[in-house]
């Protein structure tokens, strides 16, 4: 409420709300182009080739060309699909992916909707992605799509539990579910980030292994949430072609595609907020103005987007039983133990 510079400029009225709601949209659209280019160029770099070179200088206009191409594609609705559900599913994916941006604080003076339970909200809206995928996969009336959708749903709900525990541990440390509050508690440089146990005396050293474990659990889980390698079994092209979006083409496919990239940023932003101080500068108060904050925030989050792309072109794909083994038998107990330690520390602190 008080933490939004737009309201200071034009007052807290409907126009202000609309502008605030539109700003993340601008960001997402630009981000999606950058991420597509990043995926193309980083994959090329890892595989020692050049990647797109013809559109613009060194191919930087390639994502725009891709968008134009997708817009010009014919909108094919295959004959055997369940038309209403087939057409609704991409909208649910798209809207759900965008909804998560509502609570992400880009700086101490800008958060689209500073609700008090932001962390809980972000975790909850990921449910829309699951439903969108199952809806699209089932409606496609295609064996690959259905298999991909069921695998995706099973995988996403399985990995949500360790993720929830990791989020919960940080909420315990911060004593709040408000994103801004969580970030404010990590003020004062890199050592006070929740990755290093948050603020406190040197006695916090014993808790650092546990916060590191939770950080890793969240990161691994977020890869599964966004169906990225090594958890891209739902889209494993060698077995099930393209998974739940096999039958989709043109703009409807683009919406699934956009949702995936948008979710990549969301999970990276959450990991930044939870463990790496969000918009806090790593040097305490140095370079910590509102503009610097958004630069820090976006660069930290983009770093994790980069890591996700990097992993995609580096790691092989897991098998489905390995995937379930990892989440239910390894990550879940480890997450609870680490959570127990962190909660204990938060209580005695």
């Amino acid at each position: 409420m008080e933490q939004n510079f737009v309201y200071d400029l034009i007052g807290e009225n409907l126009i202000g709300y609309v502008i605030v709601a539109a700003m993340p949209l601008m960001f997402v659209l630009v981000y999606a182009l950058v991420a597509i280019l990043g995926e193309l160029k980083i994959s090329a770099w890892i595989q020692e080739r050049l990647g797109p070179m013809r559109t613009g200088w060194k191919g930087v206009l390639q994502p725009i060309a891709e968008v134009v191409k997708l817009l010009q594609k014919e909108d094919i609705t295959p004959a055997n699909v369940n038309k209403p559900l087939f057409n609704v599913a991409p909208f649910i994916m798209f809207t759900g992916a965008y909804a998560a941006y509502a609570v992400i604080p880009f700086s101490s003076v800008f958060v689209p909707s500073g609700i008090n339970i932001g962390l809980f909200y972000v975790f909850a809206v990921s449910a829309f992605a699951i439903i969108g995928i199952v809806m699209g996969g089932w409606a496609s009336n295609n064996k690959y799509s259905l298999l991909g959708a069921m695998r995706a749903a099973a995988q996403m709900i399985s990995y949500e539990i360790p993720i929830a525990i990791a989020i919960l541990a940080v909420a315990t440390l911060a004593g709040s579910l408000d994103m801004q509050e969580i970030i404010k508690q990590q003020a004062g440089g890199i050592w006070n980030w929740f990755l290093f146990g948050g603020t406190g005396s040197i006695a916090k050293v014993w808790v650092i292994p546990f916060t590191f474990a939770l950080f890793l659990i969240y990161f691994i889980g977020s890869l599964a949430e966004t169906n990225r390698v090594p958890f891209d079994i739902p889209e494993g092209e060698s077995e099930i072609v393209a998974g739940y979006h096999t039958e989709y083409s043109g703009m409807k496919f683009a919406m699934f595609f956009f949702a995936e990239y948008s979710n990549m940023f969301v999970v990276s932003a959450i990991i930044t907020i939870l463990f790496l101080g969000g918009w806090q500068s790593p040097f305490g108060d140095f370079m910590n103005g509102p503009v610097w904050q958004s630069i820090w925030f976006i660069s930290k989050a983009m770093f994790f987007v980069f890591v996700q792309i990097w992993l995609r072109w580096t790691l092989p794909r897991l098998r489905v039983d390995q995937l379930m083994y990892v989440t239910w038998k390894v990550m879940l107990p480890v997450a609870f133990v680490a959570f127990f330690a962190v909660a204990f520390w938060a209580m005695i602190k």
Binding site: N82, L85, I115, N116, I117, A124, V125, A127, V134, L177
Partner: protein
């Protein structure tokens, strides 16, 4: 304030239309996916009632959990081999009984809601969040209920495993 009325009627319409879809649709998958919008609309109504925690819980548990379970459940059914799974219709006699029972319940609910002293709350009143109050009460006054919930969850877990196990 007019804006909040607009939002209320928007969500109320979503709830009513989609709930109608759940009940009247002959295809089970349509009913299941229609529930998504019902849950979403109800959670919007919760927000208008300043029950933010309940609203998000609604999305998280019902959309993320129950709905996925329902869909997986539909996919387990035997009648699935048809193109679209359909629910059967009742005969005229059963329909009459069901209609009368529903009508009685509806009349009862309407009379009850007319005669209840509802707690009036200004939608613009300054409340930050309900999470803290819920947390405070749950672990002091309602600790026993919380314990019972734990047992209930355990029973659900074990029961589901027993029913679903293959061997």
């Amino acid at each position: 304030m007019a804006l909040y009325d607009v939002i209320f009627y928007l969500f109320a319409t979503i709830v009513l239309v989609s709930a109608g879809g759940v009940v009247f649709s002959r295809k089970m998958m349509y009913s299941a996916f229609s529930l998504l919008f019902t849950f979403f609309g109800v959670s919007g109504l919760y927000v208008l009632l300043s029950a933010d925690f309940i609203a998000v819980t609604q999305i998280m548990v019902y959309v993320g959990g129950i709905l996925v379970l329902i869909i997986f459940g539909v996919m387990l059914t035997t009648k699935i081999t048809g193109v679209d799974i359909k629910s059967g219709t009742l005969g005229a006699f059963q329909m009459g009984i069901a209609g009368l029972a529903s009508l009685a319940i509806a009349v009862f609910m309407i009379i009850m809601s007319m005669n209840t002293q509802w707690m009036q709350k200004d939608p613009l009143a300054e409340t930050s969040t309900t999470v803290e109050a819920i947390g405070g009460l749950l672990f002091t006054e309602y600790l026993l209920a919380f314990g019972v919930a734990a047992i209930l969850l355990l029973v659900a877990f074990i029961g589901a495993a027993l029913i679903a196990r293959r061997k």
